[in-house]
Symmetry: C2
Subunit: 285 residues, 2 copies
Amino acid sequence: MTTLKTYAAAQRKRIDAALNRALPRAAVRPATLHEAMRYSIFAGGKRLRPILCLAAAEACGGDDKLALPAACAVECIHTYSLIHDDLPCMDDDDLRRGKPTNHKVYGDAVAVLAGDALLTVAFEIVATSEPARRYNAGDMVRDLAITAGSRHLVGGQVADMEGEGAGLGARELRFIHESKTAALLSCSIRLGAMSAGATPRKLAALSEFGQALGLAFQVIDDILDVTQTSAKLGKSAGKDEASDKATYPAIHGLLTRKAIAALKPFGKSAARLEQLASYLLDRDY
Amino acid sequence: MTTLKTYAAAQRKRIDAALNRALPRAAVRPATLHEAMRYSIFAGGKRLRPILCLAAAEACGGDDKLALPAACAVECIHTYSLIHDDLPCMDDDDLRRGKPTNHKVYGDAVAVLAGDALLTVAFEIVATSEPARRYNAGDMVRDLAITAGSRHLVGGQVADMEGEGAGLGARELRFIHESKTAALLSCSIRLGAMSAGATPRKLAALSEFGQALGLAFQVIDDILDVTQTSAKLGKSAGKDEASDKATYPAIHGLLTRKAIAALKPFGKSAARLEQLASYLLDRDY
């Protein structure tokens, strides 16, 4: 098996080529909009979600080429959510991955609309995909829409904004992280599995893997961000935060074991997913 | 046949009930977001697009109940586009149908996110629909996504904004109106037909009907708005505008005849669509 670095670089190249084909050219009218969409899509993302999507298809014994549309779609959703989160009326960020944010370059109005268009094109791309068997495009659209919608991705952003300055309990904090991070990571893995026509048992196992991976990933972020989070939540959160902090290593260990255990039945075909999980979960903290 | 007024009132009631079932309750977390979504959805819209969607299903001999999901979806898309268009960074409107706009009540951030969530739930609803035959949910999602995306609905808004103050040619103006109005009207009719399992010939005829209806409808708006439009476009547009104005009645007559002709093969089953078209096209100008 090639190293993770070589694999990820090769997959990134395929994903970027597929995204380039899936999005309207920058010259298509209105050009500003299509330029703005492409600006953020090709702003140097690591393509973590699409890479997981392709690896999940591979784990199910499918040609991961079938998962390329789903891989592009989850990246479009991820990018749209970053564009809207960065807006002045939300987190008001000027830089993203060291580059000016979309609204800094194209103005707030075009940034809102470029986000809208990326969200929309994600569904167009998935609706055009042809899963191997068992599932149809409608199943995948439904899963992606529930993940991206008001109960998960969008809902998490609202809860996050409402929590600013207020004292957030452990439960509320978990809702935000599950919604903003774990939901789309897990959905990326499920869509990859569905593209490959995974059996219901394999789909359920990968869904569990994705959920545990997403949460464990977020728990590490929580630990790394604990000082920032503390500042953000204000002093009233101190008690919750302290008790959360104490349980982090235990939760992380549990989730990591759960994620790895979920891959057992796949044997060697899940080697790549396991490698990706180790990379994501073995960060120092 | 009942009068249009009675029919429309009854359909509105069914559509509102279906929307109420399709959207998460206001109490679902995060409550602010679900309240904001419901605020704009139930702000007194005429439900023109969903009514056309149901009438198209009826014209194809289907139970129009099958078209209710599509009818809800097009209304969610329409409402999201109004919320985003009203934002301070776009048209900056304080009132919509006599009520405070979404961002006036919930703030800019929640308004952006409520729009995002309504756009997303539209695809969830369509993906969950079960067309009678011939088409699947994926076909309908694809049609809706193309209509709502960067080449039509979102693209039209960008072109509209870019045109403010600039001299717009007749061609550019037509792109804006086709994109912002005709595309979604026409798509509403197509989705209704697809829900009812329309034959390809009937679907093509209704697609032509929707396109002609949407354009004719817009042409009337152009005539009614001509003074406002003139002020908006600035003096440099005078020549284009004058030549446009002269050709309006001819174009309108042509489009109306085309729309009605497209319904011929349907006979009596399209009586309701014809009645709706007459209502929309017979406004005084």
